[in-house]
């Protein structure tokens, strides 16, 4: 079963994403900021990361940059943010994201991209 890490400081957002992903049969773990996410990523094995940008202690960019330095942890990452500015897109990809999405995300939209990124067939 595929395992996904949701990184967001807002508990409602984590629950919402979790509900969508669990309903599609994935298992999910959560982290509230980049440092906790790194701890979980380095000790676990994830097939995908869904990462918010603005978080306390360590933001999403920094998390992805540090994660991408670890050769064993190159699973795809979706960066989600409230910001739609062009600059953020560029920064996200530069940090190691595979996809940038603007919140709030609709369930269908999320599932399409999640499946695509993990190399599964789209429903």
């Amino acid at each position: 079963m595929k395992h996904i890490l949701i990184v967001d400081d807002a508990s409602t957002v984590r629950m919402y994403h979790r509900n969508i992903l669990e309903a599609a049969g994935y298992t999910v773990d959560e982290a509230v900021n980049g440092i906790e996410a790194l701890e979980k990523a380095l000790t676990g094995k994830f097939d995908l990361y869904i990462v918010d940008i603005n978080m306390p202690k360590m933001d999403g960019y920094e998390f992805l940059q540090q994660l991408r330095r670890e050769p064993m942890h190159q699973a795809p990452a979706v960066m989600v943010s409230t910001e739609a500015a062009e600059l953020d897109h560029t920064k996200a990809y530069f940090s190691g994201a595979n996809l940038y999405m603007v919140k709030p995300i609709k369930p269908l939209q999320m599932m399409t991209y999640v499946r695509l990124l993990m190399g599964e067939e789209s429903a």
Partner: protein, 280 residues
């Protein structure tokens, strides 16, 4: 009239708040354990409802109530060899890395804060002597600090109950303990090897004296600090450490609630935090 009933939604709200603050997550299966302690604190603080108590918990300026509750919700018994996977990590991973770039004329410096009643620094001393081959080639200074001078005196005496030394291997017990009235006393050479000092981790003048530390054990201390003081304490420890030095926190603690200064480092036996080598 007071209503000490805690609904499912109250529990969820509390669990999320507590997770955000401490990194400790209580699943619904822990409800009985958590509810019991919440009810106890609600009664003692004279709160007339969960809502009232939750407000105190969130907004009390001193953070005292959150500290009390954290105390109740975390088991903090100290004994020899507690969380010894970190000592394993010290021997197998942290020390080999530290000596690979350490000046051989200078001692390795290990700092335990809080010293508490001494179980942790003495456990580390025994680990170093028994398990680390490098002890033949390197000098190690072991410093144990606490804010409480009384507990430091207890630590220096080094007398412990049977229960406290229950996890010490039998051969180590024979080598490093002797029976005395009141329990088991740590041998003199081990007691002599640890330097006990009084340090308040929130006091700049105290911390300024600590320098060139290679490895810090700071377990189950910062969790009881408020957000502001734990961030400042992490900054002082950063100052006390050599670049590339390591810090170990308690197993329920995460630097993710404290400070972004350190790098997460994964070793086979444990996750620890490192002051970046290249940082100035």
């Amino acid at each position: 009239m007071s209503d000490h009933n805690i609904s499912e939604h109250d529990f969820d709200k509390f669990a999320e708040f507590f997770y955000r603050k401490t990194g400790i997550k209580f699943e619904p299966s822990k409800r009985y354990f958590v509810d019991k302690r919440l009810t106890e604190r609600m009664r003692e603080t004279g709160s007339d409802s969960f809502r009232h108590y939750f407000t105190t918990l969130r907004f009390q300026a001193s953070g005292e109530e959150l500290q009390r509750l954290t105390n109740l919700l975390t088991v903090n018994e100290t004994y020899f060899m507690r969380e010894d996977y970190q000592f394993r990590c010290l021997i197998d991973s942290m020390l080999p890395d530290v000596i690979s770039r350490h000046d051989p004329r200078k001692p390795i410096r290990i700092w335990c804060i809080p010293s508490s009643s001494g179980e942790e620094p003495y456990s580390i001393a025994m680990y170093l002597l028994e398990e680390w081959e490098g002890i033949n080639d390197w000098d190690v200074e072991l410093i144990a600090s606490d804010i409480d001078t009384q507990i430091l005196a207890t630590a220096q005496k080094g007398i412990y109950s049977e229960r406290s030394i229950r996890n010490v291997p039998a051969s180590w017990k024979r080598r490093y303990f002797k029976s005395v009235p009141g329990g088991h006393q740590v041998s003199e050479d081990i007691r002599d090897a640890v330097e006990f000092t009084r340090i308040n981790l929130s006091e700049p003048a105290d911390v300024r004296s600590m320098r060139n530390i290679d490895i810090i054990f700071c377990r189950n201390l910062l969790i009881y600090f408020d957000d502001k003081s734990r961030k400042v304490a992490a900054e002082y420890m950063y100052e006390a450490m050599s670049p590339g030095g390591y810090i170990c926190l308690g197993h329920t603690e995460s630097m993710g609630r404290i400070s972004p200064l350190y790098r997460v480092k994964k070793f086979p036996a444990a996750i620890v935090y490192q002051r970046p080598l290249e940082a100035k």
